[in-house]
């Protein structure tokens, strides 16, 4: 029976990186949509 290596740190790092990248991109899109959504109504028309 081979001994199972202890390498949970790498796994946690990978799971955190994936979540950060995906959530980060989502937030970026949400912010952009919000900015686009209110821009011209307020000051665009004079």
């Amino acid at each position: 029976m081979p001994e199972t290596p202890q390498n949970a740190g790498y796994m946690i790092a990978a799971y955190v990186v994936t979540a950060v990248v995906l959530v980060g991109y989502w937030v970026r899109l949400v912010v952009k949509v919000r900015d686009e959504g209110r821009e011209p109504r307020d000051e665009g028309r004079k």
């Binding site: 199972t4 990248v21 011209p40």
Partner: protein
């Protein structure tokens, strides 16, 4: 003129929602991979990186093909929507290739003992990333919209054709990457529970891709509408 602003915003919001659903499902994948999938004996917990890395790699390759095919269609039909869709896909493709390129070394370090190897598939994925970045840099550097669309389509098609050559040339060089365990002629050599988690993770990545690309496409429509509006108002 391919859109008005409100329609673009509506599409972007829908994409945002789909992506949010994808993120919730991703949390589900995390739980599934941690709680309900057995730990591999020889590799330990690091093997579970597989459920993030492999689906991200598949998604990147798929998105890359989508960009190539859409670009070829654009040169043929010259429909602005195809160009916008290709550009949106390329941006989302970069997101997935970043995941692929970071989770890969995190798995390789404990298992191979080294962060990086010049193996066929690794090199291929790195070049996919370079091509995506080159494609997006080119888009950012061409001011004229028509020219931008044609130039980037040409680069995407060339990149699409390059992929088999990169693969073959590094393959002739050497390879130590794990051989395919799912898509191979015989039955998948993966326990059912692991295979199920992997396929679910891939499906979730696809949901995320669809959500992101829809949001990005909607934002693109808004930008188009704004450009058209500026053109229509000579005083602005």
């Amino acid at each position: 003129m391919i859109a008005n602003r409100d329609r673009g915003l509506a599409i972007a919001r829908r994409g945002q929602l789909i992506a949010a659903l994808g993120l919730v499902l991703l949390a589900g994948v995390y739980v599934l991979a941690q709680r309900f999938t057995p730990t591999e004996v020889n590799q330990g917990l690091a093997q579970k990186i597989f459920y993030l890395h492999v689906p991200a790699a598949w998604t990147s390759l798929l998105v890359f093909s989508i960009v190539g095919i859409t670009s070829a269609l654009y040169l043929w039909l010259r429909d602005e929507r195809l160009d916008l869709f290709a550009a949106s896909s390329a941006e989302v493709g970069v997101v997935f290739s970043i995941i692929m390129l970071t989770t890969g070394p995190l798995w390789a370090k404990p298992i191979w003992g080294t962060w990086w190897q010049w193996d066929a598939r690794l090199t291929l994925t790195l070049f996919l990333f370079f091509l995506f970045v080159g494609y997006l840099s080119l888009r950012a550097a061409v001011p004229d919209p028509g020219e931008r669309a044609r130039f980037s389509a040409v680069v995407a098609i060339l990149g699409f054709l390059l992929v088999p050559f990169v693969h073959l040339s590094v393959y002739l060089f050497r390879t130590i990457h794990p051989m395919p365990v799912v898509l191979k002629p015989s039955a998948p050599s993966l326990p059912d529970s692991m295979l199920r988690t992997l396929l679910i993770a891939f499906a979730v990545d696809l949901v995320l891709y669809i959500g992101f690309v829809t949001a990005r496409y909607g934002l693109g429509l808004v930008a188009h509408a704004r450009a058209a509006e500026l053109e229509a108002r000579p005083d602005a």
